[in-house]
Amino acid sequence: MLRTFTKAICLAAALTFTVSPPAATAAEKTEFKVCWSIYVGWMPWGYLQDSGIMKKWADKYGIDVEIVQINDYVESINQYTAGAYDGCSMTNMDALSIPAGGGVDTTALIVGDYSNGNDGIILKDKGKLQEIKGQNVNLVELSVSHYLLARALDSVGMSERDVIVVNTSDADMIAAYSTSDVTSVVTWNPLLSEIEAQKNATKVFDSAGIPGEIIDVMMVNTETLAANPSFGKALTGAWYEVAALMASDSPEGKAARTAMAEASGTDLAGYDAQLATTEMFYKPADAVAFNQSKELPQTMKFVAEFLFDKGILGEGAPSPEFVGVAFPDGSVYGDPNNVKLRFDSTYMQMAADGAL
């Protein structure tokens, strides 16, 4: 009796302490943690940490920023949403469905790039997108691949009803493609180029067909950012220092890109090839311009409608407008009383003005 009871108490205590949110997230603090996962446009985050550039900028503002790589993309977003990190790199779509849909007010601090061919649809032994009709399509369901498929089908007057979506883990996508019952896949780089290299594979659609819709962003907790502007400044300053380095053809720039290439398991040529299908915003002014473009609200509307259609915009979401998305000009898509995702140019503008 005694032992069982003690066990129950211990378990209760353990569970309560481990899953309680970190106290007072919004308060001013000096130590921050952000996370990222492997993707061509996010490799600079690893480089920031390894090269000491992040530390240099953090020291400048008298804070401490740790950048942690997480091997599983979805898990990194889940960790951020649960409160374990102050920021995390993710796409605009996942930001809306996971943290924002889960009530965590999130701000797009640094709009890093958009996919301009990094995500694509591949058919086996077929050459036209229309021929996808009736096929099994292997992809990571509810991911940007799924979104890309929906947009692609839309562009040729078909809908998801015309195909059968088979949820397939990205880790097994290449092995899956080599089996005879898989005839079409939707995936992202570096898997995409790996599969496309096989001789019976034809890429029939890619994200260059919907430019600017799959956006890769460093998302941070809005309350943390509001209470600690120096966190936003240090992160943004460090990011654009590395971005300028990457864009340059100098030996230092090449060395930086080589380090990122190796960290992502390829070589400089392979990494440059991936960068070619990624529209990187190396200059903060370009990111600001994109952030304030008229197309962004339109994109977020597409994304919100897609998420709502798939039933993943949060429990009890009555319409795609359930979660509000705020844009730099102050306009809001969706419910203005439930704004949980904010595109904000403040810090990128500071970088553009050289004010960091």
Partner: protein, 273 residues
Amino acid sequence: MRITNRKPSRPTAFLLGLIPFLGVLIAYAVASHTRRLENPADKLLPSLADMGAAFMRMAFEADRRSGNYLLWLDTWDSLWRLGSGMLISTAIALILGISIGFVAHVRSGLAPFVATFSLIPPITILPILFIIFGLGEVSKIMLIVIGTAPVMVRGVSQAVMDIPREMIIKAETLGASVWQMVTRVVLPQTLPQLITALRLGLVPAWIFLVSAEAIASTSGLGYRIFLVRRYLAMDVILPYVAWITLLAFIIDRLLRLLSKRAFPWHHLKGDSL
């Protein structure tokens, strides 16, 4: 009287068994409440009411897109895969187990191989399974078979070898053929052990079922859990986990009951778990 000599009455035993469950439930409710004070829309630890609502939605409301009742569809597909896999594993365990345990030449030939094979983590050879069996149902069932059959074979052959030698000699003295010894001596002694092996095999079988469904699938309990994990829908995941646990528990109890009913001689030696 010392505690080791005291036995709880039936109601006390029931209540004692209930305490850890209640403890976990209360700990969960407290943790969930604390997180939800901070963020009412918290997804990590949804309230018990939210989970109940999600469970009812999965079970009794047709899916907007496909018109299916997702929980039952998933349950049926998963149980079908699990059942097929375990049926094959049990058949393999029975035939190979008796051969290895009863015939020394077969034992010399196969036992080292089965022992080695049982140590391969099946997930690691998954790409090979895909290429041989395709991405459909066969590779999922084969993953369960490969994950459970070798260990079950070893359990059954050990049970055959544990049959007292005197019994075999007695049967031989009475003029039994090899086939008669197998059907009249070995089988009755082994079948209850086979059910034990099956019950133990079901534990890894569920793990392999969920992993297989996570990798490439269009339905199933594991598929649903890994799908909704993409948007941290713990209000769906946690009830599904509870549902899987309940199914596994019921199957286990049914097998125990079967063993007790069908082979009462095996359960004469008192209480078993």
